[in-house]
């Protein structure tokens, strides 16, 4: 999947992945896509909840060997 910015939040625990994600989204334009990786298993639910509450769109979530990769499209 195409993305405009990539962030590594692996080996970080709650709430750091969400805080990194928020900061990353503030550095891209509306409709651009942020790719962010996390290893905190709680991040799956947290990122879904984050997107639901802030209006950003969780385009895709991949899991491979304990690493969760989120693709988030910044809302308009």
């Amino acid at each position: 999947m195409d993305f405009d910015k990539e962030l590594d939040a692996t080996n970080l625990n709650c709430p750091l992945p969400i805080l990194r994600c928020k900061k990353g989204l503030s550095e891209i334009n509306a409709a651009q896509v942020l790719k962010i990786m996390a290893t905190d298993p709680g991040a799956v639910k947290d990122f879904q909840a984050f997107c639901k509450q802030t209006g950003h769109e969780l385009l895709q979530l991949d899991e491979a060997e304990g690493v969760y990769t989120f693709y988030i499209k910044k809302h308009a």
């Binding site: 970080l12 709430p15 805080l19 994600c21 802030t54």
Partner: protein, 155 residues
């Protein structure tokens, strides 16, 4: 209009420093407007130097310990420092943020930090002991914001 979160932080140990700063920084990331009112021992969390924060296993039977330890042993000199050191090691190895980092995240995202003026006077704290990014106020100041908040928590 943005949702609002009002917190009271009343505890000043290393473990209890986490809930207010985690919730406040996360709420700010969720576009909440956030204020934390620091009162009594919570004021410690606004000091410039957070290195003094400690955790004590004494009187806390829920605290996980490497070996079971009766209260009588936990009150021996050095046990508190040891528990604090172990907790800090755990924090670092598990990728948990430091209190400094979380507090900075709060400040950077515009969380308003209010120190209880009464407690400052009561404990003879000095304004220069605290970080610069705070305001001083009383109970009425808290209610001005808490009264119109969506979530209010006492920690």
């Amino acid at each position: 209009m943005a949702k609002k979160l009002a917190l009271i932080a009343s505890k000043g140990t290393l473990d209890w420093a986490y809930p207010p700063f985690i919730l406040a920084s996360t709420a700010a990331a969720l576009d909440y407007e956030v204020q934390i009112f620091f009162t009594f021992y919570g004021l410690t969390l606004l000091k410039k130097d957070l290195g003094d924060l400690k955790v004590s296993p004494l009187g806390n039977p829920a605290m996980p310990m490497p070996v079971p330890m009766p209260n009588l042993v936990q009150m021996l000199p050095g046990m508190e420092s040891m528990a604090t050191m172990m907790m800090k090691q755990k924090i670092a190895t598990k990728g948990v943020a430091s209190i400094e980092d979380l507090r900075n995240a709060c400040i950077e995202t515009g969380v308003k930090l209010i120190a209880c003026q009464m407690t400052v006077d009561l404990f003879d704290f000095k304004k220069e002991d605290f970080i610069d990014d705070i305001e001083f106020g009383g109970a009425a100041t808290f209610f001005e914001f808490a009264g119109e908040s969506d979530v209010q928590l006492f920690i």
